[in-house]
């Protein structure tokens, strides 16, 4: 391991790797990434793998659209031979109330203005897209054919390979225990494998980002929350798009290998770092899933697990420097959709660190909460 770095990126999830790659691509040398376990061991490797552009805020739509461009041309953009298993069979969002449908209409307007090809669908059209769908109580939906999902392990691996090709050092099983400062300036990072002298640190520690920030006495306005998920045995392809309902709080997709991945947003889940599974999830999830797609009742569940959402006050990410400590940067608060926008986040963070103009017209700095410039994202599970 190098004992000196220009920038130390903490966290080997999709975000950390995307940042490391984008820094190296801008010509920043001696970038070192540290991950306490294996790559994608955090939320990234545990996520639902959905990539959608149907968001409610212009910013999220923009970030998702720009990221989708990268997913679509992954090999060429990153110059790595990694197949990320992108399946673009759309996202079908389901509406069960007029309020929901109205919100979809508003969202679609924003989306269409950015060139995202989403549209409103009737229950009949929804049934046509997903023949197994239970359309009981369904009043409509929104569909974007270019949404879909990709393999988060492969995406992370692709970014890390591309970063390594450009000279980034990736250290797995290396945990940051302390960030050393002198007179408010960072002087280095203490890991369990040794000390790395550096003046710049990027906190991309996902659900643990607030803990890393505490190492420099910074308080981040985020908290972590357990979200559970499961995977079934594989069967022949029957479900094209990712299905999602905000009122029933669930999502469900069929991966290219045929297994279904599904999860739901829990009620009253307290903030915690707990990543244990619960039997309650199995019961509730299977009921919800079978109600939505009745033929699933024959499927066997293979595995269940959980990961952390890192929640921000407006459910939009924080990609920012921190006032309290010079050269300490954070990319956190992804509120359950950090995978699909990770390509754009890497670009933004590289802009910030190299003090360039922001590539995208977005406001994601941490000071926005004090300024009161918040537009909350309405469409999350």
């Amino acid at each position: 391991m190098k004992n000196r770095a220009s920038v130390v990126v903490i966290g080997g999830g999709v975000v950390g790797n995307s940042i490391a790659y984008n820094l190296a691509k801008r010509g920043v040398e001696d970038v070192v990434l540290v991950e306490r376990s294996f790559l994608a061991s955090g939320a990234t490797g545990r996520c639902g793998a959905g990539v959608r552009q149907q968001w409610g805020t212009r910013q999220n739509c923009l970030l998702a659209r720009e990221s989708m461009k990268v997913f679509e041309n992954f090999k060429d953009t990153l110059n790595v031979n990694v197949d990320i298993e992108l399946k673009q069979k759309g996202y079908l969002l389901l509406a069960y109330s007029n309020n929901e449908l109205e919100q979809f209409k508003k969202n679609i307007k924003v989306q269409n203005s950015l060139g995202i090809p989403s549209k409103l669908v009737t229950p009949q059209e929804a049934k046509y897209i997903v023949p197994d769908l239970n359309t009981d109580k369904l009043i409509g939906g929104a569909f974007c054919p270019t949404d879909g999902h990709a393999n988060p392990f492969k995406v992370t691996y692709g970014y890390s390979k591309a970063a390594e090709n450009l000279g980034v050092e990736i250290n797995k099983f290396t945990e940051v225990n302390e960030i050393k400062t002198e007179k408010g300036k960072i002087i280095g990072v203490q890991t369990n494998k040794g000390f790395i002298e550096t003046s710049k640190v990027v906190d991309a520690a996902g659900g643990w980002s607030q803990q890393i920030a505490k190492m420099v006495n910074a308080e981040l306005p985020v908290y972590s929350e357990r979200h559970e998920i499961l995977v079934t045995e594989p069967i022949k392809p029957v479900l094209d798009p990712m299905l999602m309902s905000f009122s029933y709080n669930i999502y469900c997709q069929q991966t290219p290998d045929g297994s279904f991945i599904m999860g739901y947003g829990p009620d009253n889940e307290p903030p915690s770092f707990d990543m244990h599974s619960s039997w309650q999830f199995l019961e509730t999830m299977s009921k919800k899933a079978v109600w939505l797609l009745p033929p699933l009742n024959k499927l066997r569940i293979i595995r269940q697990w959980a990961g952390l959402y890192n929640m921000s006050p407006d459910k939009q990410p924080i990609v920012s420097k921190i006032k309290e400590v010079e050269n300490f940067y954070v990319a956190c608060g992804f509120s359950g959709h950090g995978f699909m926008i990770a390509p754009a986040i890497g670009v933004l963070m590289a802009d910030i660190i190299t003090e360039s103009d922001l590539t995208y017209n977005v406001v994601l700095d941490i000071e926005r909460y004090k300024r009161g410039e918040i537009i909350s994202e309405p469409s999350v599970v």
Binding site: H276, S277, S278, W279, Q280, L282, E283, T284
Partner: protein, 550 residues
């Protein structure tokens, strides 16, 4: 959502450990739910047609399947035990709820205590073409043959010479499958010498310091290429050898089935001596999680005997915690102490060293009462452990000191030279003529003064290591009485071929007596008349149309 049933104790796994755990706790009135994923109870035992080693107290000398039947009957009689077969425990959650898949439904229990006795899974080996049809695990071969009566192949190569490799090879021969050879990467046979000797007597070569390089065949196994290894386990050049066979059986060890324990967040540690990741636990079999106990192979690969005792210890400790009346406490305490002593004794000999080293690694003291005065091998058995054939020096030590003793009449010869925990010979002799000098780990000796040559011990010894010889049957012939476990059985006055300890044919013999009654329990005791010069050589027979040889 809240249909959670309460329970006192849930035992997961219906092998010897789980069965004995359930019984031990239920005997003190604990309500037990015994959960087994297969449709029947018994675990590994149901496919073990051979007689078990170990202590007579834990049913040594009895066949595995019969031990299983006996325990299962006791379980079924016990009103405190509810049996759930075809039921798999799916998870043990943070709130201590146990989920079980039974009849395609997930049911939930909230137990006061849990004993996990989930056993082990087989290890696999990496070599070229190891995915060809015809490459089996030893467990699969055993299940096919002994449970479902299906022959896995016609001629097999056995990889691994631990007890399982040796026993399964023997069972293959019994089923009529040829065993091309047994190869072992280590310079020494891994299992007990008596098992190896049985195979040597049948002419099956055991090649130590050999490994498999690749399986050969187009759509299925048609042979294998093996090679020799040097002392640092590197391939020796130009030692490749083609072995013709239509199946390859891998018997390269077991690893504890700890998935459920890991899911329950029990602390584990990697201890190769005990098979891989094992749960940390105390001497009462309790893990890092209170009221969660383990027993048997899941707590470290050992044997059925230790699994049974560990099950008892775990079951008794649960009883002690749940049934709080003073009277029981004293009784239970005493039983626990006894069981611990027995376990310690079982592990005290030279073959227990690996297990002891493993246990020390997780902070247990496996020889509390013995200090360090553990016996080292009494004999130099290096040749025996390379070939399965006892050396002349080994034999000399077990024969009478004076030739005159043979003149007295029939006497038993015990061809058992290794120290391991086993005592059916001692326990079966009605004349008290065999002794192990007070320790189950010692080598048994026959007291030729006391021995009447009755031959009872011949069928009781699980190692088939007891023989009776009568040197002066006539002026020119002797009688040799030996155990025989193949079909067809010989009949009186039949002429059979006689083999020595290396499986070489040495002469013909005439069958004088065949004992095949209830006490023999399928280990036929055959007495043959042979030329006198061979009375110390003749140790096996070949019956026409009977056993197939290597």
């Amino acid at each position: 959502m809240n249909n959670i049933e309460k329970a006192e104790l849930i035992v997961v796994g219906g092998g010897p450990a789980g069965l004995s755990a359930a019984l031990a706790a239920a005997d003190y009135g604990v309500n037990v739910i015994l959960v087994e994923e297969r449709e029947f109870l018994g675990g590994q035992l149901v496919k073990q047609t051979h007689r078990f080693f170990g202590s007579e107290k834990e049913y040594a000398g009895t066949r595995g399947i019969d031990i299983s039947k006996f325990l299962v009957e006791k379980i079924k009689e016990n009103e405190n035990i509810k049996i759930l077969t075809s039921s798999r425990v799916l998870g043990i959650y943070n709130d201590k709820i146990v989920t079980i898949l039974a009849n395609n439904k997930m049911i939930k229990y909230s137990p006061k205590a849990l004993i996990l006795a989930t056993g082990a899974s087989e290890k696999f080996l990496a070599f070229e073409n190891n995915d060809l049809p015809g490459v089996f695990g030893a467990g699969a071969v055993q299940t096919l043959m002994n449970l479902y009566g299906v022959l896995p192949s016609k001629k097999i190569l056995m990889v691994g010479s631990g007890n399982i490799g040796l026993i399964v090879s023997y069972q293959l021969l019994q089923a009529g499958v040829k065993v091309a050879c047994i190869i072992e990467a280590a310079p020494r046979i891994g299992g007990y010498s008596v098992h190896a000797s049985k195979l040597a007597r049948m002419g099956v070569p055991i090649l130590t310091s050999h490994t498999i390089k690749k399986a050969v065949g187009k759509d299925k196994v048609e042979g294998a290429i093996i090679c020799q290894l040097d002392s640092s386990w590197r391939e020796i050049k130009d030692t490749e050898q083609f072995i013709k066979c239509d199946a390859i059986c891998l018997s390269v060890g077991l690893s504890p089935l700890t998935d459920l324990l890991k899911q329950a967040n029990v602390k584990t540690s990697y201890v190769p001596e005990l098979g891989g990741y094992i749960p940390l636990r105390d001497e009462n079999m309790e893990t890092s999680i209170k009221n969660l106990f383990v027993a048997g192979d899941v707590s470290g690969i050992e044997e059925a005997t230790s699994a049974i005792i560990e099950g008892q210890i775990a079951g008794l400790n649960v009883a002690k915690r749940i049934k709080k009346d003073i009277d029981n406490q004293v009784k239970i305490e005493k039983k626990i102490a006894e069981a611990k002593d027995e376990l310690e004794l079982l592990r005290a000999g030279p073959v227990g060293e690996k297990v002891r080293n493993g246990l020390k690694k997780i902070g247990l003291d496996p020889l509390k009462n013995y200090g360090e005065k553990v016996s080292t091998e009494e004999f130099d058995i290096s040749f025996l452990m390379k070939t399965g054939i006892p050396s002349k020096e080994n034999l000399k030590k077990k024969l009478p000191l004076s030739e005159d003793v043979f003149n007295k009449g029939p006497i038993a010869i015990s061809e058992c030279f290794q120290q391991f925990p086993c005592d059916p010979c001692v326990k079966s002799c009605p004349f008290d003529a065999i002794s192990e000098n007070g320790s189950i780990n010692n080598i048994p000796y026959v007291n030729f003064e006391k021995c009447t040559g009755c031959g009872i011990c011949v069928s009781k010894c699980p190692g088939l290591a007891m023989f009776v010889v009568q040197k002066n049957y006539t002026d020119s012939t002797s009688l040799v009485t030996l155990p025989y476990e193949f079909l067809p059985k010989p009949v009186k006055n039949q002429i059979v071929l006689v083999l020595n300890r290396e499986g070489t044919e040495i002469c013909e013999g005439t069958v004088k007596r065949v004992r095949d009654g209830k006490i023999q329990d399928k280990t036929t005791v055959v007495t043959i008349e042979i030329p006198k010069e061979y009375f110390l050589e003749a140790r096996n027979i070949k019956v026409d149309g009977g056993q197939k040889h290597g």
